[in-house]
Structures are given as structure tokens and as C-alpha cells.
Symmetry: C2
Subunit: 462 residues, 2 copies
């Protein structure tokens, strides 16, 4: 690293605003599952938008690249530097405003998701985004990866929850668009550029997000189904009969069994080992009637053969148990050996078709594989995972081929090879296979226009 | 016009695909209120994406600019050419697919909004966008202006309702992104660029849009309030007590009286001439309970003093009557002389503040003005209109100053000078007053990157 740049950054940030100490750097340089690790000559930890802007400007002037990082919970390696300056936003952790009348909250990039949820609840409002890493994931990272999670079926992804952004651009200028407006048609909606851009076009420093009325009623249920097709029938019924569906998750028998085996206190909520379990969550602003609607919907589903068994959580503890099994799905199958983890989406109606085709391909490529299907079936998003056969030498597991076959299946069904995790470093080489030339050219045009010197996250996405 | 370009376009489009006949051109060249009229040497009427692509390519090669046009219902002049080739998308009017399981519909740019609504209803689904011009406005125009309307408070604007787009770019290449996915994090979300871009970055030729469960219950109510502040209290109650609010509109006494006077069959639904009327619409997937919830919410509002009177429509005919008054608000005040029509938005909580400030400014600039306040109060979007005093010489009405003062008030409250109508030609000169230098630079950067030759709609927006 250029000593002059080091000096300038250190001078601007002060002793608490940076580090080059390997012990301090270490947790920032390793991804939590241990799949990615990196290096950096300098960890910048600015505490204000002005400091971020100056870091970017100084780096741009010196021709030094930057990898921005939030809570370091990303799954595709986009937050881990390989020699770039590491820009951690964690010290920008103020909630600037909560406005219940406008149904909005303004938080800095380093605020963790649970803090936003809690601040909303204190104002008798809901911030609906919810995902496994919510205790560590930060608003900036969640926006940069357009995070999804379990409530997308009702409330949408981070993009849908965003009213305004504050962004530091590649020349160090600050795009200030923190409006809480519901409608604003005064030119290009610039904030859209930075949501889901994985830090390659700008550094998000703060956001104004949507809040919702806090639900007064909340019901969690599980239902057993014989097949993904049956689960889709149940999904339609759950949507149209209650108007209150907030989550619709699926798990197949394989992942249920692995999770019960590998995670102590995870329990299978229904007997009889059905091939699939669905987890349904409902919320409503009005307490009256919801449980009647859910009960009669489930009765109808049983009668119509869309479910073979069902149970409604009788209390919060049971609801947490139902969710615990689902939340532990990743931990449940990780110990089972070599595996590939996909995060595909297809049009909702194509989920059964995808599973059938992808399973056949996986079995063809490696007879005896154990196939894990779980995820957000209500959005057509399956965390499709193929685990090596029991007893196979992990080195002989054809993970790459199986992963590509699964991605090909999703693509052939007009689907996506990354529904919610992003492209990062891990999927970047695959993009040309699944994007049209026109799409790739347009993406490169945007990158060149907004970050002509390639300052931001040069190894991620594009 | 270059005769060679004329020959090439005519050859490509065939006799039914273009016109230079002044009688045929005339309705395309005049805005429906008569505020804008234009000229074109050539009306292109392609019937397929390939034809649109070839028109764009041929024009780009010849250095000829294009003004795209949908249903010609825009209010800011962006669709009227001044010498450019006029590209009408109306012949691209096929609905390509309706997928109730995926809750999606794919329609070409020239399909009118009511056709999409009807196709959705036939599949037992709802396409929620609804606005006054829905019998003429087309999907392409609605997307290009990110249209809003009366159901934004529940379902969002066109941007929020869009899953995928097909767009012809400035070099004639086709960006094909008609996916119906709910989740797709594989790089920059390119479709966002073209929504609300007013045809300056590409020509939208088709879109995949979101559908929703068709509501089984539907209630329309009116409530009288003394002030905008009271109306906001009612809004909060309506949201949190029912969870089913689908529209929340406001009209002040001035516009109610003008509409009753100037529009035959428009009726004031409540007696006593209250200062403000709010119109509330509720819908629900579940029929049971909604009317109880609405009734008890209104009773609570009356008790708390958030409303002074209220009525629930007893049948469809009465519901239409309530809506008719609101829909006729524009027609109601247009005959009242010289006036300025603003389409501002502010954070919802700031609506009372905006009205107070803007009214004081208007009265100061022109004593005796009649102030019309109506619109989508639930979104903070007021169609704020100031009408000349009775008897004043219209030439002496300081419309420009009053309009600027109203825009200044909205801007000072972190609001927008165009909530849903767009910038077009009419507001373009005002942008530098209300956008930061960083915002303007970024907008120009995008325009230069995507349309370097300035082919698309060169007089609109930026």
C-alpha cells in the first residue's frame, strides 16, 4: 500500500477509525462458514458519511480499490477483500429517525437488522424483513445484497422496503436522497442503482425504510404434503382464503431428518414422516377472525387433499419450535459431507418441475446423492442442496457438475441462479452462461459510467 | 426528414405500420387537455418488438430522434413530439400470458390498463393499479411514467407492480427480462432504469406485472373532517384497525363545491358542508368481518374526534357515487378560470404543514385565490391547485409565482414537485432548482451512458 495513502487515511480517520493490527483485522477477513478468507493492507472504520466520503475520495485519487463490508454475513464472498482497502461501515450505527406517522425509519448502514426491528416495535410498527443472520447483518449489507428472507411473500425484499438512500459515489461525492416519500416521479430513481449492486457502484451510508402497522394477531402452522405440487395448491389456498399469509416455507424429508439428527432440540412437529413439511405464518392488523380463517383454510386443505396433516402452534413457544426446525435447516445438513448449495428461484408454478428435473440430473451425475430441498416456496425460492452419498470419498463428489446442472434447470424454467444471496465472487464466473449479451453489456456500461476507475469491489459481481 | 430514412422505415413497417397523413397524425399530436401540441414528420406504428427494434436502429443510424408514445394521456407533455419521429406503441396490444399460480400477467406496451384489469379478473386475480385515464392509458406509458393512482397506499406504484420488462435500447438491441420471478439477485436490476424514465433511456415493449388475490369484500366510505391533521389521525386509525385500507383520498370544501356546481350528477355525500371530505376504500381477501371492522373503526374515529360525520356506501351504486365526486374533481375546477395545477408530495405527516404554508403563500401572492386541495392523502400526494379569484383578469393571475411557491414549500418539507405525473417537458426547467448537483450529474451520466446519441425523447426529463 502506498505509504502516503496510509498516512492520509489514518490522519483523516484518527486512531479509533482504522486498524492494521492482524488480531483486529482477523474477524473481518474470514467469512463465518470459513469458505472465504482474504487480506487487506488497511481496515477503514469511518463513523460518519463525511469520513466515508473522504476515504473513498482519497482511495480514488490514489488508485486504490475498496471492498465495503457490513456485518460480514454474506454467503457469496463479496464482502471479503483480496488486497483491497477494507471499508467497514459498522461504526455508522445510529438510527437517525423513526417516524410512525410516515411509517418510516432512517438508519445508518452499520445498524444491525434486529436493532431496526426493535426500534420499529418500540414505535408500535413493524419492520418486516427477517432472516437467519439478523443479529449480525447490517442495513448497508442487506441493501447492497437486496436481502430477502422469510417474509418476502407478504412484504417484499429490501428493495421493496426502501424509500430513500444516502450513498457515497466513486468520486467521493454524496448522493443525498433520504426522502420518506411514497411517491416521487422527478427523474430517474437513482437509489435503485445501488440496491443489490453488492457495493460495486457506491457505498450506501444510510437508508430510509418503510414501516408497517404492527400485526395484532400472529399464527404459525405446519402442514404435511406429499409433493411440491400439493404444497403449491396449499399456498394458493392459504393466500386467497386468509389474505394474511406472511411466510410459506418448505422442507423435504431429507433435510428434516438431517436437522433432527444433527441439531439437538430440533424436533419434527408432525408424525408419520411425510415427504414434505410446509411452515405457514399469518399475521393480521385485526386480531378477530384470523385463527378461524386459518383453521377453516387448513380443514379445507385436508379435505381437498392439499395437505395430509396439519397443526397450528398453540402458543409462542410452539411457534418458535416450528420455526426452529426451519431455521436450523442449514446447520442440519452441513455436517453431512461434501455438498453443493444452490439458491435458485423459478416462477412459483415451476417449483415442482424444477425439483423433478434437478433431482434427476443430480442422481444421474452421482447415484445415491441425498437431496436437500428447503426454503421460501411461496416465492419460488428453493435453497437446493445436494449432499454426497453416504460413504463416498468427498473428493469424488462431482459438486461443480451438479451445481451447474441445477442452475441450468432453473435457467431453462426462466428462473434465477441466485434468488437472494447475490453473485459476489462465487457466482461471478457463471454470469455469462445465464445472462444475455445485452444484459452483460448494459451491466458493464453501468459499472463503467458510475465507477470508471474501478474503485468499488472490483472482484465482485461484474 | 431524411428521405432515405423515410423510405427505410416505410419499407420495414409496411403500409399499415406508419403514417404521414395529417388527419391520422392529428390525435397523436395534441394532448387531450389541449395544453401541448406538436409536429412529426413520421408516425411509426410497429406491431412487434422486432419492428420497434428496427425503427430505433434505423433512426439511431440516421441520427433522428424519437418520441415514444403510449395512450397519449400524460399530463406533462413528454409524449408530444416537436419534430421527432413519433413512435406509437398502440399496435403492440397483445396480452401474452396470464399466470394465476405465479400471480403474474405479461402484456405488451400498447395494452390499455382496463384490459389488464379485466384479464386479471377473468383469472380470478386483481391488477390493482387504478387511475382516471385507465380506459386509454397503456402499460408502456404507465411504466415509463411510473404511474400511481388511487391504490398506491395498499399496492404501490407501477414500479412496485413490475416483475420483468422487455426494452428496446438506443442501439436497437433488445433487453429481454420478462421474468416473473419474485426474487432474482443476479446483478443490477436493469428494469429499474426504464421505469419512470419517461422514454428517455429505452422503449418498453412489454412487461410482466404482479397480480394479487381478488378481494372478496369491498367497502367504500366517506368521512367528514375539520382539517388535514384530523384526516391524518383518521388515516392512522383506518390502517391499523382494519389492515385493509386500499385508498385514502381527500377533497377540500372548495373542490367539492366546484365539482357539484360544474359536473351534473356529482353529489356531496354528506350534509353540513364540512371543510374536508375523505374517501376511504377497503378491500379484503376474506369477506367475513370487514364491514364490522370498518364500522367500529369509524365509530371510534367519531368518538375520538378524528371525523365529524361518516357514511358507508350501502351498495355498489352508492360506492360509485362517492368515487364519482372524487374522480370528477379535475373536471370540477377546470372551468373556474386561470389556475395552476401542482402534483406535490410530502411525507404523510407533513401534509397539514404543506397546506398551511402553501395556502399562505398563494394568498400573499394573489389575495382572494380559491385553493383546491384533493388527491391521495394516504400517500402524502396532493393535487394542489390554485384558481384565480372570481372576477380577476386571467392575464393578471400570477400562476408561475404561485406554482413556484408551492413547489418551494413541498421541497422545504423534503417533498417532491411531481409525485406521480413526471417531469416531461413542463417541469424540466425546474429540476435544477430542486435537485442537487450530484443528482443532476448522475442523471446525465445515465442518459449519456444508455443513450449516447440522444435518440430517445430528447426534450423530456433531462
Amino acid at each position: 500500500m502506498d505509504p502516503l495513502l496510509h498516512e492520509r487515511l489514518a490522519g483523516r480517520l484518527g486512531p479509533t477509525g482504522y486498524s492494521v493490527d492482524p488480531d483486529i483485522l482477523s474477524p473481518y477477513l474470514t467469512e463465518w462458514r470459513g469458505r472465504y478468507s482474504g487480506t487487506t493492507p488497511f481496515l477503514a472504520m469511518p463513523a460518519s458519511t463525511e469520513e466515508v466520503a473522504d476515504v473513498v475520495r482519497l482511495c480514488a485519487e490514489a488508485g486504490a480499490a475498496i471492498t465495503p463490508q457490513g456485518g460480514n454475513t454474506g454467503l457469496v464472498g463479496g464482502q471479503i477483500p483480496a488486497g483491497e482497502i477494507l471499508l467497514s461501515l459498522r461504526r455508522m450505527n445510529r438510527i437517525r429517525a423513526v417516524d410512525p406517522v410516515d411509517d418510516s425509519i432512517t438508519a445508518e448502514a452499520g445498524v444491525v437488522l434486529t436493532s431496526v426491528q426493535e426500534a420499529a416495535a418500540e414505535a408500535d410498527r413493524l419492520f418486516p424483513l427477517s432472516l437467519a443472520s439478523q443479529g449480525s447483518a447490517t442495513i448497508g449489507g442487506l441493501l447492497s445484497t437486496n436481502a430477502g428472507g422469510v417474509h418476502v411473500v407478504r412484504y417484499g425484499m429490501m428493495r421493496d422496503l426502501t424509500l430513500g438512500l444516502e450513498v457515497v459515489l466513486a468520486d467521493g461525492s454524496v448522493l443525498q436522497s433520504l426522502k420518506s416519500l411514497r411517491k416521487d416521479n422527478t427523474g430517474y430513481d437513482l437509489k435503485q442503482l445501488f440496491i443489490g449492486a453488492e457495493g460495486t457502484l457506491g457505498v450506501i451510508t444510510a437508508a430510509t425504510l418503510k414501516l408497517f402497522p404492527r400485526p395484532r394477531a400472529h399464527i404459525v402452522a405446519v402442514a404435511a404434503t406429499d409433493s411440491p405440487a400439493q404444497a403449491l395448491e396449499l399456498l394458493d389456498l392459504a393466500k386467497t382464503r386468509t389474505g394474511a399469509l406472511a411466510a410459506f416455507e418448505i422442507m423435504n424429508r431429507t433435510v428434516i431428518d438431517m436437522t433432527v439428527k444433527n441439531v439437538s432440540s430440533a424436533r419434527d412437529p408432525l408424525g408419520g414422516s411425510p415427504p414434505y413439511l410446509t411452515l405457514l405464518e399469518f399475521d393480521s392488523a385485526v386480531p378477530e377472525g384470523l385463527s378461524d380463517h386459518v383453521e377453516s383454510m387448513l380443514a379445507e386443505a385436508l379435505e381437498l387433499g392439499f395437505a395430509t396433516d396439519a397443526a397450528i402452534a398453540q402458543n409462542e413457544s410452539q411457534a418458535r419450535d416450528f420455526w426452529f426446525l426451519r431455521e436450523m435447516a442449514s446447520a442440519g445438513h452441513r455436517p453431512e459431507g461434501a455438498q453443493i448449495n444452490c439458491d435458485i428461484s423459478v416462477p412459483v408454478s415451476k417449483v415442482p418441475n424444477f425439483i423433478e428435473r434437478a433431482n434427476a440430473e443430480a442422481e444421474r451425475l452421482c447415484p445415491g446423492v441425498r437431496i436437500v430441498e428447503f426454503g421460501h416456496a411461496g416465492d419460488g425460492n428453493i435453497h437446493y442442496t445436494v449432499v454426497q452419498p453416504v460413504g463416498l470419498d468427498p473428493a469424488r463428489f462431482p459438486g461443480e457438475s451438479i451445481s451447474q446442472a441445477a442452475h441450468d434447470c432453473a435457467h431453462a424454467l426462466n428462473g434465477s441462479i441466485s434468488a437472494e444471496h447475490g453473485i459476489g465472487v462465487s457466482r461471478r464466473e457463471e454470469l455469462p452462461r445465464y445472462k444475455s449479451e445485452t444484459q452483460l453489456i448494459l451491466m458493464r456500461t453501468l459499472k463503467a459510467a458510475l465507477d470508471p476507475k474501478g474503485v468499488f469491489n472490483p472482484r465482485a459481481l461484474i
